[in-house]
Point group: D2
Chain length 446, copies 4
């Protein structure tokens, strides 16, 4: 083993570092989660991410994307979550603080948002996931967690992380990576792992070009190659406390990135890296089209891939204080209607209507996601919402948009891709995406 440079501390640690005494109940203090609220500056959900990070994108009317991962944590009894944010983080931070910082959980300081910050030591932004964690180590280290669970914050799935942690502990692994069991050809953006017997990870390939990133064969360990399989990474990593600290500060002190630098590095060093196969529904919302489909799914009554209404695995979010929706005269089909809407003489088909949406007389909404409004308006004629007689089909309308009377948003020219950002919208995969706060005068046609 010495030949391949496995550092001593890893082996010793794996054996001797025990878990905290626990009485097998209550809050699991041995694990802390680190959630990345941002994907990156180049979000594939642009322009929905023009003013917010991916985790803060509203979905299915009442929720934000990050609620799925935070709810997984709550439902998995993980009671300490650090959310690291930097890119367009204002609305994400506001949502997280208001939804998850109060009450009895404050006792445990359940969720702590760590926004990128300047310090005398480092005046830069976070340079990547590994850099972000390294710069927050002084905070993370305060928690007595034995394992850290790293989670992307903008994926949609339900996972009991305790099962992942059980596998990690049973394998006495240094690092456990979660992989997609059933979707082996999926490009998740997090690379692929070669997995040998006993789910030991023996190699890594970078996405998207799938060129092997480094020599991954761990010498001295005899794997039966015929059992090896490739699995797509979900970007979810369990790392033992001291493993994480050593990797970030000693082994790879200059690495900016977890997925392409630190985790592959850990494999190369011969650490015990294991794979945990997840075979449930997983959606990473890597395109406007995927985001659109998930919203359309949420209006279905049955056979939802992701059940937003599951009482045994609830989806948490910010509680609201809105009045009920007031509907003057509407024909509504296969749609969800958020709180506090005012729907006049209109027709709504296969659409998600978010909180506080106003729709005028004679308007028709089809196959559309309307995110709604953040604010109440005192002057009715500046109206946020959809004006009288307007027709909207296959669109995503971001928040606080003002659509005048007799507007037609129908993608008249059947454009597949088009950038009209200065006019307040883009078209992608044939879907009209209207920017937050855009204004469309009466009679506009697009």
């Amino acid at each position: 083993m010495d030949k391949i440079g496995v550092p001593c501390w890893v082996r010793v640690f794996s054996i001797t570092y025990g878990r905290f005494p626990s009485i097998g109940c209550g809050y699991d203090q041995s694990v802390a989660a680190v959630v990345f609220g941002d994907a990156s500056q180049q979000s594939r959900l642009y322009p929905l991410t023009k003013r917010r990070s991916e985790g803060a994108v509203p979905v299915a009317g009442n929720y934000r994307l990050i609620d799925a991962v935070i709810s997984n944590c709550i439902n998995s009894n993980i009671t300490k979550v650090y959310a690291l944010t930097q890119f367009n983080s204002t609305s994400l931070n506001s949502h997280l603080s208001r939804a998850y910082s109060g009450g009895l959980l404050a006792n445990h300081e359940f969720l702590e948002v760590i926004a990128a910050y300047q310090s005398p030591e480092d005046a830069n932004w976070f340079q990547g996931t590994a850099d972000a964690m390294r710069r927050c180590l002084w905070v993370l280290e305060q928690h007595p967690a034995v394992e850290f669970l790293v989670l992307p914050g903008h994926h949609l799935y339900k996972m009991d992380y305790q099962k992942l942690l059980e596998a990690h502990r049973k394998n006495k692994a240094d690092v456990t990576v979660s992989v997609l069991d059933s979707m082996t050809d999926c490009n998740t953006g997090f690379g692929r792992f070669n997995v040998g017997s006993g789910n030991r990870v023996i190699g890594f390939e970078k996405e998207p070009d799938l060129i092997p990133a480094m020599s991954l064969s761990v010498e001295g360990l005899q794997f039966n190659d015929s059992f090896n399989e490739r699995f797509s990474s979900m970007g979810i990593y369990v790392m033992n406390r001291h493993v994480m600290i050593k990797l970030l500060t000693e082994s790879f002190p200059k690495a900016n990135d977890l997925k392409n630098e630190v985790i592959p590095g850990a494999i190369s060093l011969g650490l015990k890296v294991h794979a945990y196969r997840f075979d449930g529904y997983w959606e990473d919302m890597r395109s406007i089209e995927a985001y659109y489909k998930v919203n359309m799914e949420s209006t279905k009554k049955t056979n939802m891939k992701y059940n937003f209404h599951d009482r045994n695995f609830p989806l948490y979010t910010l509680p609201r204080h809105l009045p009920p929706s007031l509907i003057t005269d509407a024909a509504i089909t296969d749609s969800t209607i958020g709180d506090g809407c005012i729907l006049n003489r209109c027709s709504i088909r296969s659409s998600v209507i978010g909180p506080r949406t106003r729709i005028g007389d004679g308007a028709v909404i089809e196959d559309t996601v309307i995110m709604g409004s953040d604010i109440y308006q005192s002057v009715p004629d500046q109206s946020i919402g959809v004006g009288e007689g307007s027709f909207i089909k296959k669109a995503i309308i971001d928040k606080n948009v003002k659509i005048g009377k007799n507007v037609k948003m129908i993608n008249r020219d059947n454009v597949l891709e088009g950038n009209n950002e200065t006019d307040g919208y883009i078209i992608t995969s044939g879907i009209i995406v209207v920017l937050r706060g855009a204004v469309f005068p009466d009679e506009t046609i697009l």
Copy 2:
């Protein structure tokens, strides 16, 4: 003055007892409110009050009646409220605790629910409003309030209590009563006051039979009778701290009732009792019919007598964590739709649909209040809600009611008043009122 028996302590107190030093901002520590959550055992809203007190009756989809008065307190910057409850108090207490006990307001212990209790000194229930306050005096006295504001908890109105308090202080009154300015012939159940010049109260008449209850002329004070007017009491009283304590413990230690005993007694004793005239909308919901009308009002878009959506005088209630309403195919007219409803192929006209309501295919709901469901159900065929093909017209459906398929609730025989409580409903003023949790099998017709 001695002739007419004005007790010395009153005069001394009125002059010398100052207000707490205040910097004119922030929370008003000089006032505490006492809200009566119950009307009485003989509620006129029965059977809606079979399992809950009047203050806990749901209204306008998302609210409870008591939210109106508590919101008045919050909007009037009164930050200490005692809610006294006894009759069917479970759901009221639960609502109040969850909606108003948490957060930063906990610092001020904003709202304290005092349920009737047994003690070594007194094993009885509260025998009336005066008895309730007397038995809670040991709690009330702990607050340094200089004035106590007594409020019935089940009325619907918007009042800035600070204006009432200003009048009280300006008049240097011992007691100030709030009266209806514009509805002089209204029988509020709280009696009527004869009001002389300077809004000084000089007499009281009992309701409902309007026979003068006692000799009310205060000798020695020369009022110009020609200016006297009669005003209906709203049951709202401001009492100076020591006045309240003396009245309850020394002057009238056996009185059970404020409205017919203690307040008239204060007038007789010659205390400075003043009237504050309120001319806004006020509704005491003294009948099922009045309750029904208020709900129907709430589905209107404009010209509401009581605006449930007023952002300058918000109506507070319990925040909710429900998913948006899922509507398969509905035609909805002049209605409000609460959160978390599942509405299938149905038609809804002029109705209030409360949270978590399920309505089946082909159902028609007209001129109806459905309160919704408290709970989620795991077994769909036990379904709470309205079954397929059912038709409901002019009804009030309490919570957790199960209505089967092809049920007709149409008051077929045009009954005006009918008691079918064992069958799960009564009819009053032609309105069908269905009891909480009632079950109606398929094909039922009523």
Copy 3:
């Protein structure tokens, strides 16, 4: 089997009624706890219970007795608790609402206080534990719990209720009772169980006179008597949902009491009643002396029987917003000091000093529990607290007591038991117990 009268429904239910689908994580919806906040009207902690129920008695400076049981529930992942109260319930209800009703837990409505109430059906107070549960059944039934866990609210112990529930499920029991394993001769007030092989309960004896209450031998079941043992009941019962409902409404619809009527009745009917042996520390505070000892224990640094500072099994309570304690000049030995105290030139030995206590110059406090003050005072000379030069030894000082200057509370005459309630104190087991709000003028000696 019919011979021995086991009702059919029990057997069927035990077999067929499954648990809710659970993913093995998060909140355990299959159990709800029912906590009795009151012991009874004849509290052995009188006069500490003159104005509050036993569960609301302050202990160890910052806590209330009921916090121990509620914290057990939280630490055991039980997220639905009903607290039934009736006797002197005001401060208990206030504490529970403010400490446990807010925040994210509100989503689950973690804790619901059910104060005794009048209804059209029953105008009486609760007549006992069984009557209380029967009258609240309409509330309890709303929760989908499969098992109900009944808990006295004023005992001090740490138990992982999940282990009790596991034993219950493993035994496929109808009812499981928790018993003291190591203290077999202890009179707990809840009676004793005869326990046969497999921890099956085969008999019950009443406390305190220990006369067998009924024929307890279950015919047809052949237990090996030589293995039978007697264990004291802790008053903790797990009951399957339908078993509980049938026992309260069908088998024993008139029973008022769980411990002497319903539970023994269940044994007599031949239901599967099992014992769960608990061998940890348990203290039921059945006397002022026991209460006093627990408080004295809490000032020890090590070897506490009940660890109030255990971070792996935290004790929850109301969060506080008090300033730090201000100490002018004090010699403090083996004592705990609560928040917001003002301690002048004084000496404190082996004492518990509760929140907001003021102690004057030259005062000496020894072997004493001072509960502190609920309120701030604006006028310093009405001072709540201990005046200058006073000497207090072996006393329990309830809240808001005013002790003047040079008072000596030393039990001068070595009284063992004495009732001076009108003078503001009693003496029991040689301990001076001062009543809430009592006033002792300067120079008083007792």
Copy 4:
């Protein structure tokens, strides 16, 4: 007037833009506060600000500096606060979110933390106060506030901002600046204003070199120079909504700084800038020495310049869930003791002992601020706190410091200024300042 270049929009606006309709009670929606959590990168409180911004520096045991300003807002009925942070913001954000984001105030979104963030439009950090506000304008504009109140977050004072706002409105000012009335020679770092008759501001001088920064005489307005006075700015500005937007986006779109660019610019443009004279206690903590003095002040019983315990103007902070302090044997003089401390056989004189501090046998603490510990420790021998026999005099001990046995921190050599940061401390004005988390082995002497 045109001569002097007053832009038209200002005048029109001053006249026509009304306030929101208000019923004179409840929350004041017409004002929003903008609090700067950071002073700047070059904090004068270094090294206390090595890991936190100035607003997050603990003070007086239980508080953070920013609590003073946030409490001013609450006590002034301002219910919308934006806190802008960037520099070492982690612990500030965590404190603000947990203390002020939950409960009923969440309804109003009372406090919103806006951490510096990257966006597609601007990848830079905030370049100054004006730049920060400009980049957050899209958030600020969502609030219907008519006036914005800009506040530094790290000053210690009590001000009723409503009085400042009243003066602003009465003067019909465009901008109102708050100035120190009584401390005219004080260098606040925010410059000085020349104030003419009617409190109209007619000039500005930069700090610290006090060279007139620009031509400040406003031509065409005839002030009587003999009445002019110079007042130091407190960095507090009220700006009308449209004035603020125009100044930041049109008049001075490149300005980074409010105090030296935008506000003086507004004066130059001839806008109506008025001064509000504040004559209360104000402390800007511009040095370690000032910080030290304020803490020493907080241990006084009377005549405090800033009363941390004022119940009529309460100081809010994060509620805590700590056990009472356990004191084995301590002589304590003129000190404050936080919650959850463990004080063994020690002597404490004139010191602030923060939450969770442990002090060992024989230790002596004099004239010292110990901030305490953020975390509980499971392994006692790694002990955070002060070891046995150690002697500390005139020091500020940041959080989580480990001081071994028989350590002497006495500034043996009477150093006035010394930088031993690598050894875990610096000395400034003769005060030893120990860095967060520093470790001092047994027998260390400094």
